[in-house]
């Protein structure tokens, strides 16, 4: 059965923020932002703005009734710049008017002058200048120096990794509607309803109970609406509070591209030591994270880089250091993988380069060092229910790896101007928020008197199918048809203190909470059924396909009439339940612990073809064996893998963010920033489910899916490298992502 959303989507009747019928008198907001990347504001004059017809308000920092602060982890982010600016696109003032056009035209009349200071956009330069978001963080295990001393081969190098624009097709947006007693309801396209509520309350100077956040659905999020949906939502609340009118803000694509943060670009140094036969003995890496101008979620993201520094390999001696560097770019933020992909990319580079040195294929080193059951991960967690080798071996077998190699070899021998390459990409991705306190969720389940069910959770639907999964959990638990279950909006008055829908954990946390709530109701119903049947053992009551059984025998009662009876007998048909992931903790004084409930494993085999004369590459095939646990919904999970792979390939092969030295984004439209189109999707994609994988931490034994498969995209980079090397063995001097067609061509010819 499909989610009701799917039907609405194809009909064009599903609503996104900009589709909501606008309330009477709604004001439209234009944001006036900084045109320079660093400096002091010396003059800000908006006299002319107020004379524009239709303008209702101009708001600057001094008009903020509460605190001018929206920083989530670190309090370093103003909602409107106060005296100084730190990046191009930083909001300085907002104008509210009767139409979008009037608001924008009026905002253009604001007069501003700056004392401009030089901008820093490179993370290493920021580091040298001492511009850091937080003190560097180091994880270590074993003794790297000893490990390097014992190694037969030691190599080091540098890696530069580009960022990535989220490009959710629905741009950032929100609408605020005031009601009595100073209360404001914010409809937001956010992954973090509570973050919006908290920030709005702070900026407005009101208690959180005066702010209600409601989220129907997102037209894509990918992490870009985890922290960065907040400012726009707060602005609508601010206008609403100061004018008493409803207010709406939908960023234009250009504004969204310019003003919001992206996946963090990284620059990194690595050093790897191996025995002659390819066993990795020591690994050291330092990551310079380009955080942009404010902390946002950067420190947490950097920490996940460290957690995933060794990908799915066991390495006895490891030392990693993360440095979050403050630059004059929009604050970079969460994006699918949350720092993990950058960490894994550096690891894979080290293996790739080590393989060259040892004169063996990289996959031999990869395979040799895969995690095994009970291996200790270098942050202290024991690897359990490890599927690394199973996924690898099944992929090799299922997709005829040896034949693939032979075919590619033959192709390369026959062709001079087209070359193919194959790369394998194993993944191991930890599931749980690494800030352990976030691993909590609540659900509110209502069974109505006609037997239909309404479910509210903290999960936000953004296309990842979380609502569909929770609906399955509820319908399976009650054993009623899926149509009887409706997923409600995510709303802070129904479910409080929501953790963001992020870290791939939406279905795990909220599905488990919904399961608990259903079981509470089910237990009451069973007791009631036993009583009304004049039987004594509620445990013998069972509901199957909307029929009530006792001791295996039909009782003649069906779900609908039974629920109605229960109501008249004053049985509580609603339940609120709370779930917290057990056993996760991390001790930051020693950087050891058990931060993840479990890990997701998989292996992808990627084949790429390069046109030597043009530098054009094609991803010919992506073959995956992935550990889904016991999938709740195979179609949804399959879509997540396919989509993540396409996005991962986009990150590493075509999506190039370009800024000039003044910090201005030059790739500021879809014609200059290329995301994968339908031609860029691999010609062939095969995904095999690893069977018999159990996961006691996932609802109904399932596993999280959103982020892990993104990292299969890393294999595309090395498949292209391998193809290039078939033509020019020295083509891969520099490891710099994305490997755009242009860069492929230049590398093939060894040009800079």
């Amino acid at each position: 059965m499909k989610n009701a959303d799917v039907i609405n989507h194809v009909k064009g009747t599903s609503l996104f923020i900009d589709d909501f019928p606008a309330p009477e008198g709604v004001l439209h907001i234009a944001v006036f932002d900084s045109k320079i990347a660093c400096g002091k504001i010396t003059k800000l004059n908006y006299d002319k703005v107020l004379s524009v017809p239709g303008v209702a308000a101009v708001i600057t920092a001094k008009d903020i009734p509460g605190e001018n602060q929206i920083g989530n982890i670190v309090s370093d982010e103003t909602i409107l710049a106060d005296g100084e600016v730190e990046y191009i696109g930083e909001p300085i003032a907002i104008v509210a008017a009767d139409t979008v056009e009037n608001a924008k035209a009026a905002a253009n009349l604001i007069e501003i002058e700056f004392d401009e200071l030089p901008a820093v956009t490179d993370p290493r330069e920021a580091y040298e200048k001492g511009n850091l978001i937080a003190p560097p963080q180091t994880f270590s295990d074993g003794d790297v120096e000893k490990g390097f001393a014992e190694s037969d081969v030691v190599i080091d190098g540098r890696v530069d990794i580009g960022g990535q624009e989220h490009l959710y097709l629905e741009t950032q947006g929100a609408m605020a509607v005031p009601s009595e007693d100073g209360k404001i309801k914010i409809y937001s396209s956010t992954q973090s309803p509570t973050a919006v509520q908290r920030a709005a309350a702070k900026v407005l100077g009101v208690p959180m109970h005066k702010i209600e956040t409601d989220v129907l659905r997102l037209g894509g999020g990918f992490g870009g609406k985890e922290d960065q949906a907040t400012p726009w939502a707060v602005m609508t609340a601010l206008v609403s509070r100061l004018t008493g009118k409803p207010a709406k803000l939908i960023l234009s694509r250009q504004d969204d591209l310019r003003m919001t943060g992206k996946r963090h670009p990284y620059s990194a140094d690595y050093k790897i030591g191996l025995s002659r036969d390819g066993e990795i003995l020591a690994y050291e890496a330092t990551y310079y994270q380009n955080a942009g101008a404010c902390a946002d979620l950067s420190t947490a993201i950097l920490e996940r880089t460290l957690f995933h520094a060794t990908n799915s390999y066991f390495i006895p001696n490891v030392k990693t250091t993360g440095i979050s560097c403050k630059t004059n770019l929009p604050p970079n933020t969460a994006f699918r993988g949350f720092g993990g992909p950058q960490g894994m990319f550096v690891m894979e580079t080290a293996i790739y380069k080590a393989a060259e040195k040892l004169g063996v294929p990289a996959y031999e080193i990869q395979k040799k060092n895969l995690l095994k059951e009970n291996d200790s991960l270098y942050y202290g967690q024991k690897a359990e229910r490890v599927q690394a080798e199973r996924c690898w071996n099944e992929a090799a077998e299922e997709f005829n790896l040896q034949e693939k190699f032979a075919a590619v070899k033959e192709f390369n021998e026959k062709n001079n101007l087209r070359k193919k390459g194959v790369a394998l990409m194993p993944i191991c991705f930890g599931i749980s928020f690494t800030s352990s306190f976030l691993n909590q969720a609540s659900a509110l389940v209502h069974v109505y008197t006609d037997g239909s069910v309404g479910v509210s959770t903290a999960a936000v639907e953004m296309g990842q199918g979380v609502n569909e999964k929770i609906r399955s959990v509820v319908s399976q638990t009650f054993s009623i048809s899926q149509e009887k279950v409706k997923m409600e909006t995510t709303n802070t008055t129904r479910v409080a203190n929501t953790s963001p829908t992020a870290a791939s954990s939406g279905a795990d946390l909220n599905g488990n909470a919904a399961l608990l709530a259903c079981n509470n109701i089910l237990n009451r119903l069973k007791k009631f059924a036993a009583e009304s049947l004049k039987e004594d053992d509620p445990a013998k009551v069972e509901i199957k396909n909307e029929k009530i059984f006792y001791d295996g025998k039909e009782t003649g009662m069906n779900w609908e009439s039974f629920i109605n009876d229960a109501y008249f007998n004053r049985i509580n048909l609603a339940s609120h339940a709370f779930y917290a992931t057990p056993e996760v903790y991390f001790d930051r004084t020693i950087n050891k612990g058990r931060p993840f409930a479990y890990h997701v494993y998989g292996t992808a085999i990627i084949t790429a073809e390069v046109d030597i004369l043009r530098g054009v590459c094609e991803i010919e095939s992506v073959d995956v064996v992935h550990d889904f646990g016991k999938s709740i919904n195979r179609q949804v999970d399959l879509g997540q893998v396919e989509g993540a792979v396409v996005q991962g390939i986009g990150w590493l092969t075509m999506e190039e963010l370009v800024q000039n030295d003044e910090g201005k984004l030059l790739s500021n439209s879809l014609s200059t920033y290329k995301i994968p189109d339908i031609f860029s999707a691999p010609k062939e994609m095969n995904v095999k489910f690893l069977e018999d994988s159990e996961n006691p931490f996932g609802p109904l034994n399932s596993k999280a899916i959103g982020e892990p498969p993104f990292m299969y995209g890393i294999g595309a980079y090395f498949a292209i490298m391998n193809a290039m090397k078939e033509y020019n063995p020295n083509a891969d001097k520099e490891i710099r992502a994305p490997l755009t067609h242009e860069r492929v061509l230049m590398s093939l010819k060894n040009l800079k």
Binding site: V52, T171, L670
Partner: protein, 204 residues
């Protein structure tokens, strides 16, 4: 409500603005045909700088007075309240706003509503067969050709336009025809399957 600013916006500068970034692949073809000659008079004659436009959308006739710079996408969404047509880039680069004019798929953000005067337009809402899903819509449901759903109306319209012209497209032809519609969720493999399935449904 003030329209002062709108009156000042002249059409030529508007066209200049929307003309850039025309990444027009298949979906955006014969747009921007100019009404420049007859425009000034109409503006003069009509109240408040508005001009009259008549279009046939999903089989119904609509007559409205609009500002001349209104794009077809704005017109469909704001004047007709048909919000199934989405706007994402507003620059002719993503395909979210794709509608049919006659049997051609066009980017409605790249066309002035005036240029659609007297034309027959089909939006996603118009593909319904009374209360039933149309074949292409049904195929996208069957094959799960979507995730967040934001690009979906545009995808379905482009697929419909393709299948009207080419009832049995090859995979390559499907990719070609759908290449003007971006999907950030990356549902492409399933979109291809959906279009293929739609072709089979339409044949029945």
């Amino acid at each position: 409500m003030s329209n002062k600013k709108n009156k000042n916006l002249n059409r030529r500068s508007f066209i200049k603005n929307i003309g850039v970034g025309f990444a027009g692949t298949i979906a955006a073809a014969p747009l921007l045909k100019s009404h420049a000659k007859k425009l000034p008079e109409e503006i003069k004659d009509s109240l408040d700088g508005k001009v009259e436009v008549t279009v046939y959308v999903n089989g119904r006739k609509f007559r409205r007075n609009i500002f001349p710079q209104t794009t077809l996408a704005q017109f469909i969404r704001d004047e007709l309240n048909l919000t199934g047509t989405k706007v994402s880039c507003n620059h002719g680069e993503c395909g979210s706003c794709t509608v049919l004019i006659g049997s051609d798929a066009v980017y409605s953000c790249q066309m002035l509503a005036l240029d659609a005067d007297q034309k027959f337009i089909t939006t996603i809402e118009g593909l319904m067969k009374n209360d039933e899903l149309g074949e292409v819509q049904k195929a996208f449901v069957d094959k799960d050709g979507l995730q967040c759903g934001f690009c979906t109306p545009g995808q379905i319209i482009s697929a419909y336009a393709l299948l009207k012209k080419n009832p049995a497209p090859s995979e390559e032809e499907i990719r070609e025809a759908m290449s003007g519609n971006l999907c950030r969720c990356g549902a492409y493999p399933k979109i291809i399957e959906s279009v293929d399935a739609a072709a089979k449904l339409l044949k029945k």
